[in-house]
């Protein structure tokens, strides 16, 4: 297979890193289809490259989010147990699935999340009364000059979604943010910026849990992965900084659109 040029790979990493960090994701949801479908990289090599690049994007975003105080560390830790377990399981299972099965799983997941996000994009989760106790896992967030409180609701759903997100991450080379962020926002009452910021911190561990397995199996094409990850790094730092200036509702709509387009493309590939 002819390998794409270093420059093209670098730019691909930069583009997916930028959009991914704007949305509080790792960017794997764009990277896997671009590498596997547009550039003809073998699916397992694309997944492995994506996992490693996702670590770069999410970690770079997390540095920006941490200094802004947007990350809810306790919530992140609790959910991380589930995502990393899922990641490990997904990484072990991936070796047994065909390319078509992987594409079909990808398409189904994206469609479900896109519909969910579209259906609930108008809702507000925060309470404009700071005397409310945020509880052990909740927190406070300053938006437009007002301090809001949020409580974590339906934690079991959050844990289940994290486990699934981890499994999908290990199977498909994503960080799983595309699953966690919508669920945490719509079902668990976490403001979308906190959900996205906390997710970026968790994604590194989730992706690492399966990345080691791909590396050990020899699925990592060194030069390709290095070029993509190096492109993703600076672009993610930029995207994470820009994300603060983008309105919340626009972020939700952009994420919905992205989910549906990627789902359609993947369904087409799996047909």
């Amino acid at each position: 297979v002819a390998e794409p040029s270093t420059l093209l790979l670098f730019l691909t990493g930069a583009g997916t890193g930028l959009v991914g960090s704007l949305l509080g994701l790792g960017g794997g949801v764009f990277l896997v289809p671009l590498l596997a479908l547009a550039m003809g990289v073998p699916i397992r090599a694309a997944i492995a490259a994506s996992l490693i690049s996702v670590i770069a994007t999410a970690s770079a975003s997390a540095t920006v989010n941490l200094s802004r105080g947007l990350v809810n560390l306790r919530l992140g830790l609790v959910l991380e147990v589930a995502t990393s377990l899922g990641g490990l399981a997904g990484g072990l299972t991936a070796a047994h699935l065909s390319q078509r099965q992987l594409f079909a799983t990808f398409a189904a997941t994206m469609t479900l999340m896109g519909v969910l996000m579209a259906a609930r994009s108008g809702r507000r989760n925060v309470i404009p009364d700071t005397s409310v106790d945020p509880g052990r896992l909740g927190g406070r967030i300053l938006e437009g000059g007002t301090l809001y409180v949020y409580r974590v609701r339906r934690l079991p759903i959050g844990l289940l979604a994290s486990l699934l997100a981890g499994a999908i991450s290990g199977l498909l080379g994503l960080g799983g943010g595309i699953v966690k962020v919508p669920v945490l926002n719509t079902f668990c009452g976490i403001p979308i910026r906190v959900a996205a910021a906390t997710s970026t911190l968790m994604i590194g561990v989730t992706a690492a849990a399966s990345a080691f397995l791909y590396f050990a199996r020899g699925d990592v094409i060194l030069h390709l992965t290095a070029a993509v990850a190096l492109g993703a790094l600076p672009a993610s730092l930029l995207g994470a900084r820009l994300s603060e200036r983008v309105p919340t509702r626009f972020l939700k709509l952009l994420m919905t659109a992205v989910l549906l387009v990627v789902a359609a493309r993947m369904a087409w590939a799996a047909r």
């Binding site: 270093t6 490693i52 670590i55 770069a56 970690s59 770079a60 997390a62 540095t63 941490l66 200094s67 802004r68 105080g69 947007l70 990350v71 560390l73 306790r74 830790l77 609790v78 991380e80 147990v81 990393s84 377990l85 990641g87 490990l88 990484g91 072990l92 927190g139 406070r140 967030i141 300053l142 911190l201 590194g204 561990v205 992706a207 690492a208 849990a209 399966s210 990345a211 080691f212 397995l213 590396f215 050990a216 199996r217 020899g218 990592v220 060194l222 030069h223 992965t225 290095a226 070029a227 990850a229 190096l230 790094l233």
Partner: protein, 93 residues
């Protein structure tokens, strides 16, 4: 947005150090076409979240936040089993 805690800042430092070091190895690896440097850079990148998880655990111990220390140790346990499994796979190849 609340003010970042000292632990937040320690995590940020760990991530920045890991990303910076691996970027140096990756740039060097691409420029010199050295597979050894590329492999080292990618491994460092993958280990960055593991180092971050260790920093969080130490931070929670220092805070005497025992409940979340246990949670954090569970995460390290999962990462440890992933590394162990990966080592076994690599040894079998």
């Amino acid at each position: 947005v609340s003010a970042p805690t000292r632990l937040d800042l320690a995590i940020e430092t760990a991530l920045t150090a890991g990303l910076g070091t691996s970027a140096v190895f990756l740039v060097g690896g691409l420029a010199l076409e050295s597979a050894a440097l590329l492999r080292a850079g990618l491994l460092l990148l993958m280990l960055t979240p593991v180092v971050r998880a260790v920093v969080v655990t130490v931070g929670l111990v220092l805070r005497r936040d025992w409940l979340f220390t246990v949670v954090s140790l569970a995460i390290l346990g999962v990462l440890g089993s992933s590394l162990y499994t990966a080592a076994r796979i690599a040894a079998d190849r």
